[in-house]
Each structure stands twice: as structure tokens, then as C-alpha cells.
């Protein structure tokens, strides 16, 4: 059926009206609060930062593959395995800057990682000031503390200390459209100081994340990360990281999240370069994050 110009105009008008209705609550009023409930969506950082003087203790866990060659009943659908574990603490230095330190098991070749984080929210969505989005810069550095091995050509030979380091930086831009829906887009660069021959030191990456608030304390979160580099292709066995999760806020400073994702690594320095699990093959896993905030 051919769509006539009039119908086109009407459809455009309806779409425009719908967009305006969604955004009108945020065209007038104060700073927007809680674009996301937590400083992470699933894996990707959100534009949220901790308040000044607030400490966040975090524990994250990714189980093994639910299905596929390494999943199923033998591993009790991955629950008997731990692909990655994160234990860390983060702190709000100022109202817009937070820092953090964590230890992760690591799911890629670099493991026993000590990670340092800095996040700077340089823009806060505020209708009165005509800021339509929030934006943040994230910097992450991971250092593997694995014992160096004797294999000279391995990435874990660590012939220099700098070979242990992986860096990730990203710019995130998010908008809270209304009380029920937030969307974030991000672009970043992940740099590994040492890679095997033929691999890419630098990986450009893009992310898209979303929150759909179902009730005041329960939300649905979605996260996608796409790596762009000559070697990071599906032909070479690499896949975008995709996750879906459920987020519960208890109201007492706890945010609890349960998610399903194909990424094994929790941090970007891990999952951007090393996601080789494919949703289509059942290589996704259950994960959870517990976050508890304290005023220091």
C-alpha cells in the first residue's frame, strides 16, 4: 500500500507529538534525578556518580555459560562456575567526580586484576539551564597481577610491567525522557599495552544502554557494547556484548541487580576485547551485582 504524503505528515505529527509528550515533563523544572538508579547499567557505566562523601561497596558476579558446550546440566547451567567476580569500593570525591578501586578475577587471559576508576560527570540534565542530557567521562585502568610465565610470546609473559595494563576511556551521554524511560549512548577506546601478533592494541567501542522503570523499585535494564577493530569480528569469534537485567532498589541504600549477558568479563577492559560468547549458542550467563552505599 502506498503511503500518501498526507498520511506521512500525520504520522510525523503523531510521532512528534508523542516525543513532545514524553519530554514535556522534563522541559520545565529542576535538575533531573536518577537517570539511572546505579553507577552501572549492566556492564556499561552510566552517567550517574556517587554523591560527595558517599561510599559504594560493590560485589559483582558472572556465572558460567548457561548452555552451549560449557553449560547445561554438567555445570548446573553455569551456576557452579564463576567467569568473573568483582569486589570493590567507590567513593564520591565531589558531587561530580567519583573514584574507585576493585579487584576482579578476570575472564580473559589477563586475570587477578586490580582496577582503578575515575568518572567525571561534566554535564547534568537540567531543563531550566537547557541541558537536555547528562554526560560523563569514564577512565578505567586494569593491571593484571598474575605471575609472569616463561612463554615469551604470551601476553602473560609480562616482560615489562606496562604489559600488565589495559586502559579504557569512554564518553557517555544519557537522557531521562520521563520517569519510566532513560537512554544512554557511549563511545570509547580500549587500549591494551600488549597483544599477540595480529591482534589490535586499540579497540574503538560503542555502547547503548537503557532503563525502563516498571514500578518505583523495580526496573528493566538493557545494555549493549559493540567493539570495532580489524581483529574483533564474528569471523574471529568475537561478539557484541548484550545484556538484559532486572534492578531492585530496596530504599535503604541497596541496589540489587540480576542480569543475563553473554559477556564474561565485568569490566570494559575485559569484556570489550575478550567477548567470545555467542547468545545464539546459549553462551550467556546469569550475573548479579550488589551495591550498598554509605555516607562517610
Amino acid at each position: 500500500m502506498t503511503v500518501t504524503p498526507n498520511q506521512n505528515n500525520m504520522k510525523q505529527s503523531i510521532l512528534l507529538t508523542a516525543i513532545c509528550m514524553m519530554t514535556v515533563p522534563f522541559l520545565f523544572g529542576q535538575k533531573v534525578y536518577q537517570t539511572f538508579k546505579d553507577t552501572r547499567v549492566i556492564n556499561t557505566h552510566s552517567t550517574e556518580v556517587l554523591e560527595k562523601g558517599q561510599m559504594d561497596i560493590r560485589i559483582g558476579h558472572r556465572f558460567g555459560d548457561m548452555f552451549g558446550d560449557r553449560g547445561g546440566w554438567p555445570t548446573f547451567y553455569g551456576l557452579e562456575q564463576a567467569e568473573d567476580v568483582l569486589i570493590g569500593a567507590e567513593y564520591g570525591l565531589t558531587k561530580d567526580i567519583m573514584v574507585g578501586i576493585s579487584r576482579t578475577k578476570g575472564s580473559g587471559p589477563l586475570g587477578q586484576n586490580v582496577n582503578g576508576l575515575v568518572k567525571w560527570r561534566f554535564l547534568e540534565q537540567n531543563a531550566e539551564k537547557n541541558f537536555l542530557v547528562s554526560a560523563a567521562f569514564v577512565g578505567l585502568m586494569s593491571t593484571s597481577t598474575l605471575e609472569a610465565n616463561d612463554e615469551g610470546t604470551s601476553v602473560t609473559a609480562f616482560q615489562k610491567f606496562s604489559h600488565r595494563n589495559v586502559f579504557h576511556t569512554a564518553i557517555l551521554v544519557a537522557r531521562k525522557f520521563n520517569q519510566r524511560f532513560s537512554l544512554q549512548l557511549g563511545a570509547g577506546l580500549t587500549h591494551r599495552n600488549l597483544v599477540i601478533e595480529g591482534d589490535d592494541n586499540d579497540i574503538l567501542n560503542f555502547s547503548a544502554s537503557s532503563r525502563i522503570q516498571v514500578t518505583k523499585s523495580f526496573g528493566l535494564i538493557l545494555d549493549a557494547a559493540y567493539a570495532v577493530a580489524p581483529n574483533i569480528t564474528s569471523e574471529n569469534g568475537f561478539y557484541p556484548g548484550l545484556g538484559v537485567g532486572f534492578e531492585f532498589e530496596t530504599g535503604g541504600g541497596h541496589v540489587f541487580q540480576i542480569n543475563v549477558t553473554n559477556t564474561s568479563g565485568i569490566l570494559a577492559t575485559d569484556y570489550i576485547p575478550y567477548t567470545t560468547s555467542n547468545w545464539g549458542d546459549g553462551e550467556f550467563r546469569l550475573g548479579f551485582t550488589i551495591s550498598r552505599q554509605f555516607k562517610i
Binding site: Y33, Q179, R180, T215, K216, S217, G251, G252, G253
Partner: protein, 339 residues
């Protein structure tokens, strides 16, 4: 002869002018402080007059502590924040919040707060606190224990300290800080113009001041015009939370209470981890909790008893005594969030 009469008249008139303080030395009653009039009528001094021997005392510093939680020490250094969780203004106003000080009630206070743009809070205003005789009255003995309340009941300084450490869950105040806050409170003392006096009542007090007669009656009249002690009686929780207090609620008033009271602490997590806003998700969540049976987070329970601190943190929600939020107003709030 006429000249002599004129001189005599002049002397007589002059005698009355000089000898009559009511004609010469007359600060209008409305410009006088209630405490000064109280003393002039033979009333007792209060125990919390400022101690001038304490170094570093400043009403300005007291005001800073009250409104921001920090000030500068006498040596110029900044003090530590009094509390990580609260300011005094989280729970207390510093201005008049009742239109008629002799008949404070939550209904009139809500309308007055709306017209004056004041938050509608659980704690009594500090305006006039130095005119009161007792503190942490009535049911506060259940919250803090009889022993604690007995120590502070007639002592405003100790009450300030209990508020700092107990209510605000913050650090203990130094002596100069307490005295500075007290000095600030004295700047908020009641003035005669704050009281609702009829012309006759005003005349009675003026006569008692000037003529030195009927002072006891005038003092009694004066004491009836403002609170000597802020009463505080805690609500009971309805037995059947679905039925509530079985009073029809007015959602218009409920909206005022939500915006002027609940959101004062909960908006965007201002003083609480539990954040609320004006959106439907927040209202629905509260409405659901009015109906929640057997839960410490039932809204009736929270209003009547407050919350305990969450594990690992000290902040909590203080309750609303009946004198600060009536049963009618609780049902008004329920009617609003349940729309």
C-alpha cells in the same frame, strides 16, 4: 493672678509628666520582647539565658550551624559537619509557623505554611523556643527513654545536645557551639507583636506594667498566649490499615502535605535513601504502602513511629506527633497518593 495660676498649672502638669513613667518612658508594647515583659510582670528567669563567660559564642555562628551544619571555630578553622545525615532545618523551621501562637494546630499551620512558603515539618519551630520551659515533652519519653528525657526536659542546652547526637545522629557539640546556637535561638525569641492580643488584653498588660498592679493576672494572661511547652503525642497505627482512621480524606490538602512535608526530606533523596518525587510511580508506591499489612514500612506505621536506622547507617525517619500532623491530614495524604 492669671500668671500665678498659669505657673501652678505648669508645675502640676510638669509633675505628672516627670512623675509618670507611662507618659515618658514608653516603648510600645508591640516592640518589646515577650521575655522582657514576662520578667517585668514578675515572671521567673529561664535557666537558658546566655552565659557571657563562654568564649567564642556568636549568634551568627549559631545560625550557620543551624542552617548549614558547619561554622568557623574561634581560631578560624572550619568545624566538622555536625551531622552527615541531617541539618537542623531538616526537621525544624526557624520562623513563626502558626498563625495564632495560643492555639497552634496542624490544620491552621498547614494553611499558614502554604501562604508563607514554609516546609511542614515534624519538629516544632525554634522561633520562640527560648520562651518555652520544657522540651522533649510527653511521648518523647517513649522514644528516648524516661531517664534521658528527664535529664534534658528543663534544660535547653542539654536538649540541643540531645538533638545533635540523637535526632541528627551527628557529633556532639562543643560548649561554645551549644551556646552559639542558644544565642541564635535568643535572636528568634517571641516579640509581643507575635502574640494574638485583643485590645483589652493589651491594655491589661500595659496597665500591669505601668501601674504595677494586677501583675500576676497579667502574667497568667501572657503565658496563655504562647506555648510554655510544645506537646507531643504519638499516633496509634490503625488496627485495619485498609480502613485506616476511617476519616474521609481531602486530596487537595494531601497534595500540600506531600509536597511541603514528605518531599522536604525525600525529594530526590535529599535526606533519605528513599527518594520520592511528584511522578506517579512514587505516589503509587506510597499508596501501596498505606495498604501494606504487617509491615514496618506501612505508611501509617512510618508516620506514627518513624523508622529505625538501616544497618550500617544512622539516618532514620522521625515520626509525626499528632500535634504536627493530624489523623485527618494523614487520611488527606492517603487520599492524594491513592488518586
Amino acid at each position: 493672678m492669671l500668671n500665678q495660676i498659669g505657673v501652678v498649672l505648669f508645675i502640676v502638669i510638669g509633675f505628672f509628666m516627670v512623675g509618670s513613667p507611662s507618659l515618658l518612658d514608653k516603648t510600645p508594647l508591640s516592640d518589646q520582647s515577650v521575655y522582657d515583659v514576662h520578667l517585668a510582670l514578675g515572671g521567673e528567669k529561664v535557666a537558658h539565658e546566655i552565659n557571657p563567660e563562654i568564649e567564642g559564642v556568636s549568634a551568627e555562628k549559631g545560625k550557620e550551624l543551624f542552617h548549614t551544619g558547619v561554622t568557623t571555630k574561634p581560631n578560624g578553622d572550619k568545624t566538622k559537619k555536625q551531622s552527615k545525615h541531617f541539618l537542623c532545618t531538616s526537621c525544624h523551621n526557624s520562623v513563626q509557623e502558626d498563625p495564632n501562637l495560643s492555639n497552634p494546630n496542624p490544620e491552621d499551620r498547614l494553611n499558614y505554611s502554604r501562604s508563607e512558603g514554609l516546609p511542614f515539618l515534624q519538629g516544632t519551630t525554634m522561633h520562640g523556643v527560648t520562651n518555652r520551659r520544657t522540651f522533649y515533652n510527653d511521648d518523647y519519653r517513649y522514644k528516648y527513654g524516661q531517664e534521658t528525657v528527664d535529664k534534658v526536659k528543663t534544660n535547653l542546652r542539654e536538649s540541643i545536645q540531645l538533638c545533635a547526637v540523637g535526632c541528627a545522629q551527628g557529633r556532639a557539640l562543643n560548649t561554645w557551639e551549644i551556646e552559639s546556637i542558644l544565642a541564635y535561638y535568643w535572636s528568634l525569641e517571641l516579640q509581643m507583636s507575635d502574640l494574638s492580643l485583643t485590645e483589652n488584653e493589651q491594655t491589661e498588660i500595659e496597665l500591669a506594667l505601668n501601674e504595677r498592679e494586677g501583675q500576676a493576672e497579667a502574667l497568667e494572661l501572657l503565658n496563655q498566649k504562647y506555648l510554655q511547652a510544645a506537646p507531643a503525642h504519638f499516633h496509634d497505627v490503625p488496627t485495619d490499615v485498609k480502613k485506616g482512621y476511617e476519616i474521609e480524606g481531602n486530596p487537595e490538602n494531601g497534595k500540600l502535605i506531600y509536597e511541603m512535608s514528605c518531599l522536604h526530606c525525600h525529594e530526590n533523596g535529599r535526606y533519605s535513601y528513599y527518594s520520592l518525587d511528584k511522578e506517579s510511580l512514587s505516589l503509587k508506591h506510597l499508596a501501596k504502602h498505606f495498604n501494606k499489612k504487617n509491615s514496618p514500612y506501612n505508611s501509617y506505621n512510618l508516620i506514627a513511629k518513624g523508622t529505625l536506622p538501616v544497618v550500617g547507617d544512622k539516618a532514620y525517619m522521625p515520626q509525626y506527633p499528632m500535634e504536627r500532623l493530624s489523623k485527618q491530614q494523614i487520611e488527606d495524604l492517603r487520599a492524594y497518593v491513592s488518586q
